[in-house]
């Protein structure tokens, strides 16, 4: 009998209520004691789809080619804020090969971004916002046609600096004002004033972090095609079911008439969590032309309109006792969310949750400006917030003459500081210990003394990480046992490059007693009808994995039941191993497919659902990173010599692919710490570096030695697999650890990212000048 349960699920620091339907019995958790029995789980496993990815056979949305397919390109507004006075597409429409031009003149009014704008709006609120779509036989013709569209804009006053946007007479991005929801998001526990009164020491600082761009290698895009009355969309997305719901709503279609497919995608990092305007435009164009339409963004559009990590201005104040116990934290953040926001941004997550502290107040101001809208970017808010919080912790340690690591241990949270619930597991202490060992933390002063020569200064720094990553319901899966003795896992999740397909195959094979080669995983298609959540928030494996295991256990038990009757072996004497029935009485083996020789085309279908998360416990992921840097006082160059990362995310299913994720997060974190920055021209209100030539992402030559390890700590209370998420954790503490190491090397702190040569030199020079004027005392 199906059982309906209401439960609470965390996603990127916010809690949501979910209803789920459970069937069958509760699974016994795979606890630490099961480890010795595993054939596949916990073993390094090359990706099951590796061959497709290395041969060019993997079809990305960019690669979809359909008979008669047309190409669409978008005309974008050159002004940061403007109203369209006149729009004439007639010349473009007359160009040979152009099949359609969509704009505010002829497209339906479809509300977009929570109703703040429309699919084609006549008021444009950032440079790069969509004005028209040209659809033509060839891409090159689209470019010609874009130049033939005549638009007269009335430029409007604009603002790109979030602090200026909060001033009373600032130009308004929206009529309702520049502060999202008209007020900051405020969190408070204890008594802040009392907490500061109890403090023996107080540190305070203001930190600035930059906007950074996802720069997924595959730009955003969709291919839309009508099959009869059904709209089929290939979308480079992290959430096929979300795109389906959004597109169905935009076009007024029932859900069952929209099918969304995503097999391979070239990165998302949070920027592909929802449908884009390009998705709906492709669908409308396909409807109007009766032909498949592909709409892809180019690199410039990607960097103007496809999301970013908001810049922040953060003010933090920490109070602590002489013994180094935190008594109070105040944290105010101003976040530049750009022209539109679906939810408030926040940088205060780590402040609320990382350390035990009775008196905390945080305020997050999400501010609209005339820039491209923000979107989730790998651990949104936590990367920014951890940088500021961990810098302040180091300042506190210095003031108290305490080892930074020791200070963190003295404020170690044994229960979640927000909910007061204990954690299911918390491997942070183990991560600190192992990380300190790997970087040789105790020897750092000796190494600094020995290696700092001439203009070079060596420094060490560390930072901690907390994140959700529990995953949760609803997530469903089917496991089919096919008549040829193979099995198919069916679920509506996505493999966004993290290795989901491989991990799910390992789990299914393990639970079924099948070899890995006989498992096929079908995902990324809403047509199967088996829902899974978006692949974001480090929640994919911990959400879908348990559902797959449940479905596989159900299929296995049906298979044993049927097998026992066909083979005439008592049910309790029959087991499955490596795709064969084993009669435990005489050890006789028969391949699974033999029973189907008698049953012909009978197919077994097992069902599985993700159960609820524990109610009385918190499920979180933890980690610590340590950086060793060399700073050149003459050139301002920061060279990271070594990064050590140790993370705890429950059980490790695939040590090979998890290492890829750790490296990936750390390298993106290094880009954030040292080189990446979207530059805006405040006078013109435009982004001046929306290309990969001018926006610097790390190349292979920018990568230092990285030592990355997991604390492999199965978490049987979190879910029956004992897994938690790992996608976001490794990017969270990287910039913080690097910035702390740079401060250690320099002997003073730079409060702004990225730590480019320019910034380091400027700070060094200003200090030299101060010193020249005799004001250098008490540096830091």
């Amino acid at each position: 009998m199906p059982k309906v349960i209401k439960t609470e699920v965390e996603f990127e620091g916010r809690f949501y209520e979910e209803y789920i339907v459970l069937e069958g019995e509760d699974l016994s958790p795979w606890g630490p004691d099961r480890d010795r029995d595993f054939r596949l789980v916990g073993k390094p496993q090359p990706r099951v789809d590796g061959p497709e990815r290395v041969t060019g056979a993997a079809k990305f949305t960019h690669d979809v080619r359909l008979p008669g397919m047309l190409y669409g390109r978008i005309l974008r507004c050159p002004h940061p804020h403007a109203r369209i006075q006149r729009l004439d597409t007639s010349k473009a429409e007359k160009l040979s090969g152009v099949r359609l031009v969509l704009s505010a003149e002829n497209a339906p009014e479809i509300p977009w971004r929570m109703g703040l704008t429309k699919l084609f709006d006549r008021t444009l609120r950032y440079a790069g916002e969509e004005v028209a779509l040209v659809v033509a036989d060839e891409e090159e013709i689209c470019y010609d046609a874009l130049e033939l569209i005549e638009v007269e804009y009335k430029p409007l006053p604009f603002v790109v600096d979030p602090e200026k946007a909060l001033e009373p007479n600032a130009p308004k991005v929206h009529e309702s004002g520049n502060l999202l929801n008209g007020a900051p998001e405020v969190y408070e526990r204890g008594d802040l004033q009392k907490g500061f009164e109890e403090a023996d020491v107080v540190v305070e600082g203001t930190f600035r972090t930059q906007s950074v761009l996802h720069n997924c290698m595959e730009t955003h895009g969709s291919v839309a095609h009508w099959e009869g009355d059904t709209l089929v969309i290939w979308d480079s997305t992290q959430h096929i079911f979300g795109v389906r719901a959004q597109v169905a709503q935009a076009l007024g279609l029932p859900l069952h008439r929209v099918r969304v497919i995503k097999q391979y995608m070239g990165g998302g990092f949070g920027s592909k969590n929802a449908a884009g305007k390009y998705t709906v435009m492709a669908a409308l164009a396909a409807q109007r032309t009766g032909r498949p339409v592909q709409v892809l963004l180019d690199r410039f559009e990607e960097n103007l309109a496809a999301g970013n990590r908001p810049s922040t201005v953060q003010t933090l104040k920490l109070g602590a006792t002489r013994e180094g116990r935190l008594t109070a934290i105040y944290h105010k953040s101003i976040l530049n969310v750009g022209a539109y926001a679906a939810w408030p941004a926040s940088a205060s997550g780590p402040t609320k949750r990382l350390y035990e502290c009775p008196n905390v107040k945080t305020e997050d101001y999400s501010v609209f400006t005339n820039l491209g809208p923000f979107s989730a970017f790998r651990a949104p808010g936590y990367v920014e917030g951890t940088f500021a919080l961990e810098a302040m912790m180091d300042e506190l340690a210095r003031k108290l003459s305490l080892d930074p690591l020791e200070l963190r241990l003295r404020n170690y949270a044994e229960v979640d500081p927000i909910t007061n619930k204990p954690y299911t597991t918390k491997g942070l202490r183990a991560a600190y210990e192992r990380g300190a060992q790997l970087i040789d933390w105790e020897e750092r002063e000796r190494v600094k003394k020995e290696r700092s020569r001439g203009t070079k200064r060596i420094g060490f720094g560390m930072a901690s990480q907390i994140w959700g990553g529990s995953g949760g319901p609803p997530a469903y899966a089917l496991v089919k046992i096919n008549p040829d003795g193979t099995a198919t896992v069916i679920t509506g999740t996505q493999d966004i490059g993290t290795g989901t397909r491989t991990a799910l195959a390992q789990i299914a094979a393990e639970a079924l007693g099948f070899p890995l080669e006989s498992i096929r995983v079908e995902l990324g298609d809403t047509q199967w009808g088996v829902y899974s959540p978006l692949s974001a928030g480090s929640m994919t494996l911990a959400s879908v994995g348990p559902a797959v295991r449940a479905a596989a256990e159900d299929a296995r038990s049906q298979l044993l039941e049927v097998g026992s009757q066909v083979l005439e072996i008592p049910r309790d004497a029959l087991t499955l191993e490596n795709g064969e029935f084993v009669d435990s009485r005489d050890g006789k083996r028969s391949p699974v497919r033999t029973i189907f020789e008698k049953l012909l085309n009978y197919t077994i279908v097992g069902q599985g659902a993700r159960g609820p998360n524990p109610e009385d416990k918190n499920v979180n992921t933890f980690g610590a990173q340590f950086a060793q840097v060399e700073v050149d006082l003459e050139t301002g160059t920061v060279k990271v010599e070594r990064m050590v990362a140790v993370h705890e995310s429950g059980r490790v299913i695939n040590p090979l692919t998890i290492r890829s994720q750790l490296y990936g997060g750390i390298i993106q974190g290094l880009g954030y710490a040292l080189m990446e920055r979207r530059l805006e021209d405040p006078r013109r209100g435009i982004v001046v570096n929306p290309s990969l030539e001018t926006y610097k992402v790390p190349t292979i030559e920018d990568v230092p030695e990285i030592v990355a390890e997991m604390v492999d700590l199965p978490d049987p209370e979190a879910n029956p697999l004992g897994v938690k998420g790992v996608g976001e954790p490794p990017i969270i503490p990287t910039a913080a650890a690097v910035a702390n190491a740079v401060a250690d090397a320099l002997g003073f702190r730079i409060h702004e990212l990225p730590l480019t040569r320019d910034r380091v030199l400027t700070e060094l020079l200003s200090r030299d000048q101060d010193r020249g004027r005799g004001r250098g005392e008490g540096d830091r």
Partner: protein, 176 residues
Amino acid sequence: MVKVFEKRESTLGAADLAGPDPVSLSLRVNGQTFSFVAEPRRTLLDALRYDLGLTGAKKGCDEGTCGACTVLLNGKPVYSCLLLAVECQGHEIETIEGLAKGGKLHPVQEAFVEHDALQCGFCTPGQILSIKALLDENPEPTEEDIKRAVSGNLCRCGAYPHIVEAARAAAKKLPR
């Protein structure tokens, strides 16, 4: 590429802007000859992807800054988005689709799978071809040689450490 911020004043009529008419082109790709008709402004990348249906080379930027479109031209890695198809006639072009022979992966491809030298896989064909070209010329590369060879191939997922491992392993595997 779309010029977002400048609108060129056009005094030409629509028909003139379409450019010269399509011409017959012939390319040697993966040892085979392909003939097709395309406008002279068609890049090698677009010709491969649209006219030949070889979508292994990817379009990440279309202006020579990401390396996802890397193919081999007479054995040397090139950005196919920076070449016109017309100027590649008469040259030997190798794409990722030509690497595996008889259903067996090339040792560089094998090493990329074994060492998980990829995540999303979008930049992977370009990375593999750059490494292949390196190993063809220098069978015993140093770590520096390897990094130099793929320094023009961006990977946003950060597979770099595993790419170095894979290149080293492939160098050991390849016949000398």
